[in-house]
Symmetry: C2
Subunit: 195 residues, 2 copies
């Protein structure tokens, strides 16, 4: 069936484009990355690329979406910790091996705060589900008596995620500064001490 072969080829090329795009967006940010360059590194022309993703923004959203899916898969399988708070800490640690990727997320989430940004809804949804996930685990920890029942689970979730995000900026600016992983653990410890 020739049709099947064509599909397979198209899909493979799509993946290759997404790989290259991730790499370039990561390295240089959205605005400074051209579709031309992505195309060249993926081994086709600009027009060829735009056959797969008809606009630059569409391509970009796909990159984000795929990256997020992979992140979640990775941490569900390799770090089987059912406590998403500890998982958050280990994600932060893991991120310290991938400055380029961290930079992509930091810059993209910042840019997505533009009211007209196409990526905005992606990030709104991402934070919403992340907060819900962490808040759920905070409640679990409260039931286990690990965490004071006085604490507002949603507030704690917001703060943990905010701290992780904010530390990334400081770390990107001074990689030999304070250790993000250690700081996150100290925060978690402090919260556990609240009576």
């Amino acid at each position: 069936m020739p049709v099947r072969g064509q599909y397979a080829k198209g899909i493979a090329k799509r993946e290759e484009i997404l790989d290259v795009a991730l790499e370039l967006f990561t390295k240089k940010g959205y605005d400074r990355t051209s579709v031309r360059e992505i195309a060249r590194l993926a081994g086709l022309s600009q027009a060829g690329l735009l056959h797969h993703f008809s606009t630059k923004e569409e391509l970009f959203i796909e990159v984000l979406r795929r990256r997020d899916v992979r992140n979640r898969e990775e941490f569900r399988s390799s770090h089987g910790d059912p406590n998403s708070i500890r998982r958050l800490v280990s994600i932060v640690r893991h991120n310290m091996t991938q400055p380029g990727l961290v930079r992509l997320y930091v810059t993209m989430s910042a840019e997505s705060t533009d009211v007209d940004s196409t990526a905005r809804s992606f990030f709104v949804e991402r934070y919403r589900s992340l907060r819900a996930e962490v808040a759920k685990d905070v409640r679990a920890q409260q039931r286990l008596g690990e965490l004071s029942a006085e604490l507002d689970p949603d507030a704690v979730a917001s703060l943990l995620i905010a701290a992780a995000d904010g530390l990334q900026i400081q770390w990107l600016l001074e990689s030999d500064g304070p250790d993000m992983g250690v700081l996150m653990e100290q925060l978690w410890t402090a919260l556990r001490h609240v009576p």
Copy 2:
């Protein structure tokens, strides 16, 4: 003295340009703001503007520098609280009235993490001095017995600043979400409970 008049005029125009530039960078970010547009809104031509700031980056750095100076002045005078931690909380509260400006800082600090960014050293220095200022107050609070002597002042400083930064992103994405000011106070309260 005609010379004096010329200087005064030049300085006034410079200020006007910086005002407009701040507004536009704030609204659309660095890359999507053109020198042309800034010039037009400041009532001169692009070439005219580039007489005052010879490159776009130079203009940008000046915008940041001036904004930072004004911020510091404002909070030293109007919020005379000698405790920079409470001052940090009140800055966060104040920021909630200025989403555009918050967006500028969030996007610019994110972009500045590029190794080749001209603004990088500006932000590195900014975080360094901010951390030092907050850490100093943490030590003062420890001497007053308000805060556990076990806590590492530098770590607490990093975390407080990180939380403030991170919350801004969540707030920009969902302005009717959790209240940044309240959350910052909860964090501060939690830290004070650490034995």
